[in-house]
């Protein structure tokens, strides 16, 4: 039996009169890729923000390895081992790529301001190790040689990967990816998909993913959760989700399910 990394229990987030997330239950086992999909405004990013501590949910629990974490500040949650990326890239654009990664490592470093002034051996060692590891991560995400460029000067795809490298520097147990392939062409998307897979397989990181690109979602997910108007309408393996009527209706409107069946029949007939 694999351990559960993150579990939400009847999680609700209310903005004024709008229930953005409505008692959502989700369980993600270790070393798996779980995706959250749903139409625009379904509450996916709000759900993410509740897990990563940006929002405090009104009701329900977020359990990280069985311990409730909701209500903690984001820096505490990050230090526990939950890293995230953002829908719109949010790098520290005035700093170099490698500095961005070292900042991601911040919770794992101990150097204080006094040590920084004194440059004692322990501090110097730690700094050098940090640079070394950051260079490794840079290579891991395929940006070797670009470390001294300012983050804002990197191409779009590189910025996305740099954001992931920054998240990885924290040695996370759980990685939250918010639309990692947004705005990428098909080649870049394929690269990113393979990269996310390698995060799970090589580094053993559990991944929770928001994604609109169905090819990516169906290709890499171990489990898919579908949200619509803040509620969970389906959960299961990619195959099950593809066949789920409510999901199809949520995306394409009522009556679409029948249409799609007809279309599928026709397609299989053609084949």
């Amino acid at each position: 039996m694999t351990e559960t990394v993150i579990q939400t229990h009847k999680l609700s987030k209310i903005f004024g009169g709008l229930t953005a997330v409505d008692s959502v239950d989700l369980t993600v086992p270790e070393r798996s890729i779980a995706s959250i999909i749903g139409p625009n405004g379904a509450g996916k990013t709000t759900f993410f923000n509740c897990v990563s501590g940006f929002y405090t949910p009104e009701e329900g629990d977020v359990l990280f390895y069985g311990k409730p974490i909701q209500g903690n500040a984001t820096d505490k949650i990050c230090a526990m081992g939950i890293s995230r990326t953002y829908q719109n890239i949010r790098l520290f654009s005035q700093m170099t790529a490698i500095e961005n990664i070292i900042i991601g490592k911040h919770p794992r470093l101990k150097g204080t301001w006094l040590e920084a002034i004194l440059h004692n051996p322990r501090y110097m060692n730690e700094e050098e190790e940090a640079v070394k590891e950051a260079l490794h991560l840079l290579e891991f995400v395929g940006l070797e040689g670009l470390g001294d460029h300012l983050a804002r000067n990197l191409p779009y795809g590189a910025q996305r990967r740099l954001e992931i490298a920054r998240a990885l520097a924290n040695h996370p147990k759980l990685l939250l990816l918010d639309e990692p392939t947004a705005g990428m062409n098909s080649q870049e998307t394929a690269d990113m998909t393979a990269f996310i897979k390698s995060l799970r397989d090589d580094l053993g990181i559990t991944i929770l993913l928001i994604e609109h690109d169905m090819k990516v979602v169906m290709g890499i997910s171990d489990q898919i959760t579908v949200l619509d108007y803040g509620t969970k309408i389906a959960e299961g393996k990619p195959k099950e989700i593809q066949a789920n009527q409510r999901v199809i209706e949520a995306y394409l409107g009522p009556g679409a399910a029948a249409l799609s069946k007809k279309f599928q029949r026709k397609r299989s007939h053609d084949a």
């Binding site: 501590g53 005035q94 170099t96 500095e99 900042i103 911040h106 002034i117 040689g145 001294d148």
Partner: protein, 522 residues
């Protein structure tokens, strides 16, 4: 053709208005007397009636040549026509404006009306001078002079400072310079450790011997620059690194000065603490104030923080001055007879005091530099870039912002204590809002977050006004114009911050680990 007429008229109106403005404020006369000083045909204090007319003509011609240069600049200068026509239009239009103005003051002059009630600088002798010794056709002279001057300026820029050269210089001067540096072996020379040591030794010798040569006045000015460098380094930590716009920085300066003063002055407490102990006490008191101020307000961001801290700065000054605390702070009359540093029983001269300030500045730069490139400095920069993300990346933003305030305040406390001790006096009027504004200015002018920028900024803000003393009462006008020009031309500051090239540095240290292709982009 149409655009060149439009641009010419636009530039001409600016030039004309500027010259009229110079005439009205009397700056033209001052400039002429400065030229006289330079050419040796008039003493600096010479009366308007004694100034040679030729100086005014030279001044106007120089202005026009400059304007003509600008007029021809925006054009693709391939032919003489394209160069001279904009120059001619600029000159003619500005000449027209000035001619009308001169005609009007000519009427005033002819009627013997004294304008000094309204324009204190424009007396009849001045008008007489501006009319080229009361010439009747002065306006025609102005028109001709300015037109010819602008054409000459355009021609000068076309022929002497060639267009293609200028274009090249704008785009590639930096690259050319870098190439030159690489080729000529200067880079090796600069990178050489011995060179660095020699340079440092020369700088140290200069800092040691210069103060003994240039006299107490310059010691005082340069000491003030040093104290402002200290203040700038502190505010740079708060504003430049951690990104909190604090406008009440003078409060920490005041706390430092008064902590030092109350511990060492005879009145009102007669504690008579040792100078060095009192300096330490002032630093601690300022840092503590930083923390106490920070605790309630650190959740504010941007404008709100600026307003709250602005109020805090004023509150401290008013409290010091208030009747309520007169028994404790001596009120408006301030603290007198503060401690002077002593070393082995000898009192410090102004030269020693300057050296003391230099030592403190060097230590402060050392500390600020190490902080900036550390884990702490990175956290501050991340907070200033995007506080939400910084926190989500695991940075305890509250702690780091508080730390920035405390450390920045400590620098200000040191500056305040030194300032008070050097004057042997401190009073509420030393701690006005202008101090905060000046320090913020020097940080911005130098380049936010840049330590060399702070040093350059302090020299520009506190040193250059002294160099401009020749301009007398126009000093601040010229200085303000200089600041505006500087910020328009270099909004990122005179010496903007760079980021360390950690990757290149690492591979320099560990060449074995370099990537296989051996190409490390920097």
């Amino acid at each position: 053709m149409r655009t060149s007429i439009k641009n010419g008229i636009r530039l001409g109106s600016i030039v004309g208005v500027v010259l009229i403005f110079f005439h009205l404020t009397g700056f033209s006369v001052v400039a002429s007397s400065m030229l006289g000083n330079l050419l040796g045909n008039a003493s600096r204090t010479a009366n308007v009636t004694r100034l040679p007319i030729i100086n005014l003509i030279i001044f106007i011609t120089l202005l026009c040549i400059f304007a003509g240069g600008i007029a021809s600049k925006n054009k693709e200068i391939d032919s003489w026509g394209n160069t001279l026509i904009p120059g001619a239009i600029t000159g003619a239009f500005s000449g027209l404006l000035v001619a009308i103005f001169v005609y009007l003051i000519g009427i005033v002059y002819a009627q013997n009306i004294d304008l000094r009630n309204y324009l204190p600088e424009v007396g009849l002798p001045t008008i007489n001078y501006l009319l080229f010794d009361g010439k009747k056709f002065a306006s025609l002279l102005y028109f001709g002079l300015m037109t010819v001057g602008c054409i000459a300026g355009a021609a000068f820029f076309k022929s002497v400072i060639r267009a293609d050269w200028r274009k090249k210089a704008q785009t590639t001067s930096v690259q050319t310079f870098k190439k030159f540096v690489k080729k000529s072996g200067i880079q090796k020379f600069i990178g050489n450790k011995i060179t660095v040591y020699v340079f440092l030794a020369v700088a140290a010798l200069l800092l040691y011997f210069l103060p003994t040569q240039w006299g107490p006045y310059w010691n005082y000015i340069m000491g003030t620059v040093g104290i402002y460098i200290l203040l700038g380094l502190g505010l740079n930590i708060i504003v430049g690194l951690s990104g909190q716009l604090v406008l009440g920085y003078v409060a920490f300066f005041a706390i430092g000065a008064y902590a030092f003063g109350l511990m060492t002055a005879l009145e009102p407490h007669a504690i008579s603490m040792n100078f060095w102990l009192a300096i330490g006490f002032a630093i601690l008191a300022a840092a503590l104030t930083g923390i106490l101020l920070g605790l309630p307000i650190l959740n504010l961001r941007g404008d709100y923080l600026a307003i709250v801290t602005l109020g805090f700065g004023e509150i401290i000054r008013i409290l010091i001055k208030s009747d309520m605390l007169t028994g404790f702070t001596n009120g408006p009359s301030g603290l007198n007879g503060l401690a002077q540093p002593r070393w082995l029983g000898n009192a410090f001269t102004d030269i020693n005091f300057f050296h003391l300030i230099v030592i403190f500045v060097i230590v402060a730069i050392f500390i600020a530099n190490r902080l900036q490139s550390s884990r702490t400095g990175r956290a501050w920069l991340a907070i200033s870039a995007d506080q939400t993300v910084a926190q989500a990346t695991g940075i305890n933003t509250f702690k780091y912002k508080l730390l920035a305030l405390a450390l920045g305040a400590a620098f200000a406390g040191l500056g305040g204590a030194l300032f008070a001790s050097r004057n042997q006096f401190t009073g509420p009027e030393d701690h006005i809002l202008m101090v905060s504004i000046n320090v913020l200015c020097l940080v911005i002018v130098g380049g936010m977050g840049s330590i060399p920028g702070v040093v350059v900024g302090a020299f520009v803000l506190k040193g250059v006004p002294e160099l401009l003393r020749d301009l007398e009462s126009y000093r601040l006008l010229a200085f303000g114009a200089l600041l505006v020009v500087m910020m328009v031309m270099r909004p990122e500051g005179l010496w903007p911050k760079g980021r360390p090239a950690l990757e290149a540095l690492y591979y320099q240290k560990h060449p074995k680990d370099s990537p296989p292709d051996g190409e490390v982009q920097s």
